[in-house]
């Protein structure tokens, strides 16, 4: 089973793939938001409003063990969680809604996912900036290390991408499990690390929580936001292992699925 042409170089392939992903990004923007400028704004406002809502609720609850500014704590963290959830929840529709484009042989299944994820990431990074400035404007301090915050955002993006590739492959093979995955993303919220810091937990629970990769990402984010004011602990290598394994399984799954996804 092989397909030989006048052997294109790796650079040719990379160029083609970038071209395809670029075209897919533009196409995705068109179908998702129409050709009206207003549509692009919803991309920002949806996570922004949700994040502000969560921030306000926690502000009202008060007494959260002295963490400066619940808004900064929860609203900014929530943007990262939203990115994870949205990328995973949208994954099952990625292949069906683009099936017609598979008629063009340079369009590969992972490209469909990469294009969507780029849009999602661009939006979330934009919102992350806006929220951070909003926090400063509301009297908070300037983040201790923006680089660490961006690193946390990048790790969350890559982890979400690996999981989304897996979900995309799995739902193409077994229809209907996406409902189950929606449920899981909700159940995951309390253990994700968004609502707690590791050192708040009793030791036995800490030992369990460090198995969850997003806990490390949120700890890194808070290290970047609050610096040494709070005690954070994270293992970036552990998160990277998760990223590599999920990508590997996801890409392999898509390769298997590619044989089956029919062009009707």
């Amino acid at each position: 089973m092989s397909d030989t042409a006048a052997r294109p170089t790796l650079a040719d392939c990379a160029r083609t793939q970038l071209r395809v992903i670029g075209a897919l990004v533009i196409r995705e923007m068109h179908t998702r938001f129409g050709r009206h400028r207003f549509g692009y704004l919803t991309l920002f406002f949806e996570p922004l409003l949700l994040a502000i809502g969560v921030g306000i609720i926690h502000q009202l609850h008060k007494g959260e063990r002295g963490v400066r500014g619940s808004f900064e704590m929860y609203a900014i963290g929530y943007v990262l969680f939203m990115k994870l959830r949205q990328m995973i929840m949208r994954a099952h529709g990625t292949i069906p809604s683009n099936a017609a484009l598979l008629f063009h042989r340079q369009v590969a299944l992972p490209d469909l996912f990469f294009a969507r994820h780029l849009i999602e990431t661009a939006a979330c990074t934009g919102v992350l900036f806006i929220m951070t400035f909003a926090g400063i404007a509301m009297g908070g301090e300037i983040p201790d290390s923006p680089i660490k915050m961006l690193a946390a955002a990048a790790l969350m993006f890559l982890l979400a991408q690996g999981l989304a590739l897996m979900v995309g492959a799995a739902t193409a093979e077994w229809h209907g499990i996406e409902r189950f995955i929606h449920l899981l993303t909700y159940l995951f919220l309390p253990i994700s690390g968004l609502f707690f810091m590791l050192y708040w937990l009793p030791p036995w629970l800490q030992d369990l929580a460090v198995w969850v990769p997003t806990v490390h990402i949120f700890e890194l984010l808070r290290d970047g936001q609050f610096g040494e004011k709070y005690w954070t602990q994270y293992d970036i290598l552990y998160v990277i292992k998760w990223i590599l394994v999920t990508h590997l399984i996801g890409l392999a799954g898509l390769r298997i699925v590619r044989q089956r996804v029919g062009l009707e």
């Binding site: 089973m1 397909d3 083609t16 071209r19 068109h30 017609a100 008629f103 063009h104 044989q259």
Partner: protein, 212 residues
């Protein structure tokens, strides 16, 4: 410069065992050749088209593609229904690395779609869809056009322009309509029960096909 299939097999998993659609297809299409492939429904034509275009991989066997081959142009032509004809043009132009405005201009002058070019492809009639697909593929200038079924190139202005344009390009036309093969092709093959047989003489191919 050619497109070659070497002992290509394709089977799909079914509820009970596998369905063997292609059982050892050998073929060679030279540059500029215009070949018609005739086959009854269910003979494996569509599978062959998808393999020729590179959209699907064979279960066994090899494909050697040393010229640019179009996507399978036909009714289900690789468009997104929600996008306008124009946006579909742009998308396809981008993935093939052509300036998108040139492709849109060409399609506008050639496909006779008028204002429909700015309407969603989902609102098109089947004739309009195939004109759009053909016009885009002509704008991209493939060395070999791969055309699947139900192609309404009649003897109108569009049909004549299309035939003229094909005069210096290759064509693989997969169809169950003998008249189109006679009109456009110089060589023909018959697809039957998963194998492909070539005939140097079109009349011989048509006779075989009619006796199936």
């Amino acid at each position: 410069m050619a497109l070659e299939l070497i002992d290509v097999h394709k089977s799909y998993p079914m509820n009970i065992g596998r369905k063997h659609v292609l059982r050892g297809v050998n073929a060679s299409f030279g540059r500029g050749e215009r070949v018609g492939i005739l086959g009854r429904n269910g003979s494996g034509k569509s599978t062959l088209v998808r393999i020729l275009s590179g959209v699907e991989m064979p279960t066994r066997g090899r494909i050697r593609r040393t010229m640019s081959v179009s996507w399978p142009i036909g009714l289900a032509a690789g468009f997104l229904n929600a996008l306008s004809g124009q946006d579909n043009c742009r998308f396809i132009a981008r993935i093939y690395g052509k300036p998108s405005q040139d492709v849109v201009d060409y399609v506008e002058s050639f496909a006779e779609l008028g204002e429909y070019l700015r309407m969603p492809v989902g609102t098109y009639s089947s004739g309009m869809r195939s004109r759009l697909g053909l016009a885009i593929s002509l704008a991209i200038e493939f060395e070999c056009f791969l055309i699947d079924e139900a192609l309404s190139v009649g003897d109108n202005k569009f049909g004549r322009a299309f035939a003229a344009r094909l005069a210096n390009a290759g064509l693989i036309l997969v169809t169950h309509s003998p008249s189109q093969v006679r009109q456009l092709c110089t060589r023909a093959a018959v697809m039957d029960q998963g194998t492909l047989t070539f005939y140097e003489d079109i009349d011989e191919a048509l006779a075989t096909y009619n006796s199936l």
